[in-house]
């Protein structure tokens, strides 16, 4: 199949449509507005619905409503917008509705800026909304992976009746790369969901969808069922990429844009004869703990790099259970660390060790 040169945001949008997404609601925010612009043009061509909303709060609730019908629905936003959606996401997770979110992360806190950042890890992975819930979080590091993970996101959302988040950053959203797009899915092959979706109670009992139960024991029961589902997802869906980990004594860990920059860091180190490798989580929740724990036994040092003050590093520490020292290097405010500065920072740490 031929490759197309596409911008990240547009590649994600086209992939969503090819995955069967026909409903998209969003409020513009940089650096992801091209997703909305692309959807506004493309969705009417395939019989879909594009709606620009009055706010991210309205957006997330329209997603909730559309997801109640069992159809494939998506929204996209960037960090401050994602913060506004958290209440609705908690409702959607509690109501167990399938839908896809895209958060193209920018600098924060507050209005921050519009440069790439990874400062949304906590609100994405740990749950920014209230209550005990989880999102499945996918972090692409190339545009091809963004295309592929968008397909996976809709399938996982349907399989687990759970919201799935594609956590990218301004770099992934704005850069251009050649991508190979999947075929357009035949909508009739998508999961039907007529056993629970709201489509009118014709010849059946009414379906009722709600994330609430006034009775504490009843609500705990609902929560226990959710937790069982999350354990199943943890057992089945941990994804990661390894790069030159054979014989590695030093393990670099980074996700998304950082993951791809760390590849060149690993290459440089290897050229100097320093045995380094890369572990790049692809699912941030479930975090690929199992494999990272195994690798931790084989290396002397883990070096985590993030475009934040250190958020994922906590999951790395939990995964390796203190078996190996974990060091951290990060930049904030939309500054993307260069391979040179990471090399320097790593060598400093290695010197003390």
């Amino acid at each position: 199949m031929k490759k197309l040169m596409m911008k990240g945001n547009e590649a994600i949008a086209e992939s969503a449509i090819r995955a069967g997404c026909r409903l998209y609601f969003a409020y513009p925010i940089t650096p992801q507005s091209e997703i909305a612009e692309y959807m506004a043009r493309r969705l009417p061509e395939v019989g879909g619905v594009f709606l620009q909303t009055e706010s991210e709060i309205a957006t997330v609730n329209m997603v909730y409503g559309a997801a109640c019908t069992g159809k494939r629905v998506m929204t996209s936003t960037s960090s401050p917008g994602f913060s506004l959606m958290q209440e609705g996401i908690s409702y959607i997770a509690g109501a167990e509705l399938p839908c896809v979110f895209v958060d193209v992360v920018r600098g924060g806190p507050g209005l921050g800026n519009i440069q790439p950042s990874q400062g949304d890890y906590f609100q994405a992975v740990k749950g920014g909304g209230h209550g005990d819930y989880r999102l499945i979080v996918l972090a692409p590091s190339t545009l091809q992976e963004a295309v592929d993970l968008t397909q996976l996101a809709f399938d996982l959302a349907d399989r687990y009746r759970n919201p799935v988040l594609i956590l990218a950053d301004g770099m992934i959203g704005q850069m251009m790369e050649p991508v190979e797009l999947p075929e357009m899915r035949d909508l009739s092959t998508l999961p039907d969901h007529s056993d629970w979706a709201l489509r009118g109670a014709r010849n059946r009992e009414p379906h009722r969808i709600a994330a609430f139960n006034i009775d504490p024991v009843g609500l705990e029961k609902m929560n226990k069922r959710l937790q069982e589902k999350y354990r199943l997802i943890e057992a089945s869906e941990q994804r990661w990429e390894e790069y030159r980990v054979d014989g590695a004594e030093y393990l670099m860990v980074g996700y998304g844009t950082m993951g791809r920059i760390l590849k060149s860091v690993v290459d440089s180190l290897r050229e100097e004869g320093i045995p380094a490798g890369l572990f790049r989580p692809v699912t941030l929740w479930p975090f690929p703990k199992r494999r990272l724990k195994e690798l931790a036994k084989k290396v002397q040092l883990i070096f985590v790099v993030e475009m934040s003050s250190g958020q994922m590093v906590e999951d790395v520490q939990i995964s390796v259970e203190g078996k190996v020292p974990v060091h951290f290097y990060g930049r904030m405010g939309g500054v993307v660390p260069t391979p040179e500065e990471i090399l320097f920072a790593f060598k400093e740490v290695r010197k003390w060790k």
């Binding site: 709060i57 409503g65 609705g88 489509r199 009414p206």
Partner: protein, 247 residues
């Protein structure tokens, strides 16, 4: 023996959980009768609110969900845009629709969403225990206006229907009461027209029903009824604001 009065089909067999003298029961019944008469039970989807009527989706024998506080019209928009052939309605109180959800209300109306909204205005927050609502009257005592609402501190009673009446996307808009038999029959007619505005694809339809809250007003049901007729209707006069449905 001929049955001349029975439970509407669109009501489930659950017993209402509302306080004595509360108007939710009457309004629920009217909606159910309209759904029966229009023969739309099998294609109706309800969006229940946060507040006293959070359980409303269990009282109607139709598909339904519960929206986060204030967001019923956004949720309903999502459903309707996904399934344009369904009949979707929201049931919302004054706190839900006029305070936290006023943006969703105005914008759903402005987009002319083909939705029906039943807006129950009792000038007070019910479920949280009687705090001030945007529609609380000047001088009215609530738990958060213990000396009576003042314009200087709390602003004025918000006239939602008057505000929505200026919006082009609105196809039917009426304010009613359910205090007398005549008013009840008129409210049913209004609800039917608000559904017809949706069925005919004309735009957004809403009925604001002035309603009592004896518990939080600290009155007997009869006193509450009289207080509504003596005070609320002066501030919020019943009226047809917009009617693009016709007869």
């Amino acid at each position: 023996m001929e049955v001349i009065f029975k439970r509407p089909k669109a009501l489930s067999d659950r017993e209402f959980t509302y306080c004595p003298g509360c108007h939710h029961g009457i309004i629920h019944r009217l909606i159910a009768e309209v759904i029966d008469e229009l023969d739309i039970q099998e294609k109706t989807i309800m969006v229940a609110p946060v507040g006293c009527s959070v359980f409303a989706y269990e009282f109607f024998d139709v598909d339904g969900t519960v929206a986060p506080h204030g967001r019923a019209l956004a949720v309903a928009t999502g459903i309707k845009r996904a399934l344009p052939d369904m009949i979707v309605f929201t049931y919302q109180g004054d706190g839900d629709l006029a305070a936290i959800g006023i943006a969703e209300t105005i914008h759903a109306a402005n987009r002319g969403e083909k939705l029906t909204t039943i807006f129950v205005n009792n000038a007070v927050y019910g479920m949280t225990g009687g705090q001030m609502a945007p529609t609380t009257l000047l001088g009215q005592k609530t738990t958060t206006t213990p000396y009576g609402r003042t314009a200087a501190n709390d602003g004025y009673p918000l006239h939602v229907s008057e505000a929505l009446s200026t919006i082009d996307g609105v196809a039917y808009l009426e304010r009613t009461t359910v205090s007398t038999t005549k008013d009840i029959l008129n409210t049913k007619k209004a609800i039917k027209k608000a559904f017809l505005a949706q069925i005919k694809g004309l735009g957004f339809g809403m009925v604001e029903v002035l309603s009592t809250c004896p518990t939080n007003w600290g009155m007997s049901p009869v006193e509450a009824q009289n207080w509504l007729l003596e005070n609320m209707v002066k501030e919020f006069p019943p009226k047809v604001f917009v009617d693009k449905v016709g007869d």
